[in-house]
């Protein structure tokens, strides 16, 4: 049984009132939902709230789900919409990442310089992502999580596969430009 079939089986059990199936569904998808929300919001608390809200919406709207469709396509759309709403509500992105960067740098003092450089680059990427549009962040995140095909990503974002591909290319290009800016500023601050 593949992942898709397993999800559908779990959803049918949830519909029949099986609480354990709901728990299993949450455990299967929580990290992916959280990652998508976190990359868009860049705040752990908000992202966790969004992911929780998405799971509650799944539970409440299960009767509206088309069981012929793929669960994750429907689910990531819910996560994305919830994250967008949260982002509109609170426009606080930078503080969390700055504090987490410092915390992580402090906690990784024992790591090698290579690890530190990698961690620093990843934080820079997360920061750069905040300058992209939310749907671009979603496209890049889903593309690199490698859980969805390009066609499925396109369905989640309600665009064609070809457009999704072009948008992913452009978003990466913009990310590269943002990173370039970031390193230039870093160099300036060092001088």
């Amino acid at each position: 049984m593949n992942n898709e079939q397993r999800d559908i089986k779990l959803l049918k059990r949830i519909q029949a009132g099986d609480r354990l199936a709901y728990k299993e569904l949450i455990n299967r998808h929580k990290d992916y939902a959280f990652t998508v929300a976190f990359r868009i919001l860049n705040n752990r608390e908000d992202a966790e709230e969004v992911a929780q809200d998405a799971f509650l919406q799944v539970f409440k709207n299960l009767n509206g789900f088309n069981f012929e469709a793929k669960f994750t396509t429907w689910f990531y759309r819910i996560v994305f919409n919830a994250a967008l709403m949260q982002k509109r509500k609170s426009r606080i992105f930078t503080e969390d990442i700055q504090s987490s960067t410092q915390a992580s740098l402090v906690s990784n003092l024992s790591d090698s310089s290579e690890d530190l450089r990698k961690t620093e680059r990843q934080h820079a990427i997360k920061r750069a992502m905040q300058n992209l549009q939310a749907d671009d962040v979603l496209l890049i995140t889903l593309f690199y999580l490698q859980e969805q095909s390009l066609e499925e990503i396109a369905e989640i974002t309600k665009i064609s596969a070809e457009t999704a591909k072009v948008k992913i290319h452009r978003a990466r290009k913009r990310l590269a430009e943002e990173m370039k800016k970031h390193w230039k500023e870093e160099v300036k601050s060092l001088i």
Partner: protein, 167 residues
């Protein structure tokens, strides 16, 4: 020089042989291309390496707790057409019963007279049955009917609702 789309196709492993060939040539002959490719490659590799984020330890429990607290969706029951007339029906029956009772009281005569006029035609054994056994059977039957109604109207809907809300 290759386009950004072509470079990303190379990084995604989706480039054609011709593009790969052109890419190899550019890597060998163009420093500008080499630098630009490395920039995009670095971003690509950083994104590949981005770890999956993890929720807090009690995430699942929080969601399950929130589901229990969720108020059930109340579906408004459509009122039946005859439901509005029930009150009139009830008062109609009550008035009829009241009239019948009044008429019965007016036409009431003492039991002594009845005994004198009509001899008791009910056999003795059947009379005992009516007064003792029949009462017991009737009470038992009523009890069973009440229990069945209670199960159908109260218990079953309650447990069905509990199951639906994953309680």
């Amino acid at each position: 020089m290759l386009t950004d789309e072509q470079i990303f196709d190379i990084l995604d492993g989706q480039a054609s042989k011709e593009i790969l060939q052109a890419h190899q040539n550019l890597l060998l002959n163009s420093l500008v291309y080499q630098q630009y490719f490395k920039e995009l490659e670095a971003i690509h590799l950083d994104l590949v390496d981005m770890p999956l984020e993890h929720t807090s330890a009690n995430f699942t429990e929080n969601v399950l707790a929130a589901v229990v607290q969720e108020k059930p969706v109340l579906v408004p029951v459509k009122r039946k057409a005859w439901a509005g007339k029930l009150l009139f029906v009830f008062f109609g029956i009550m008035i009829s019963l009241f009239i019948v009772t009044i008429i019965s009281l007016l036409s009431y005569s003492s039991p002594v007279e009845i005994i004198q006029i009509r001899p008791n035609l009910i056999p003795e054994g059947f009379k005992d049955f009516l007064t003792q056994d029949f009462t017991k059977v009737a009470v038992l039957a009523n009890l069973i009917i009440l229990l069945v109604l209670f199960d159908k109207r109260v218990l079953r809907p309650y447990f069905k609702h509990r199951r639906m809300t994953l309680g």
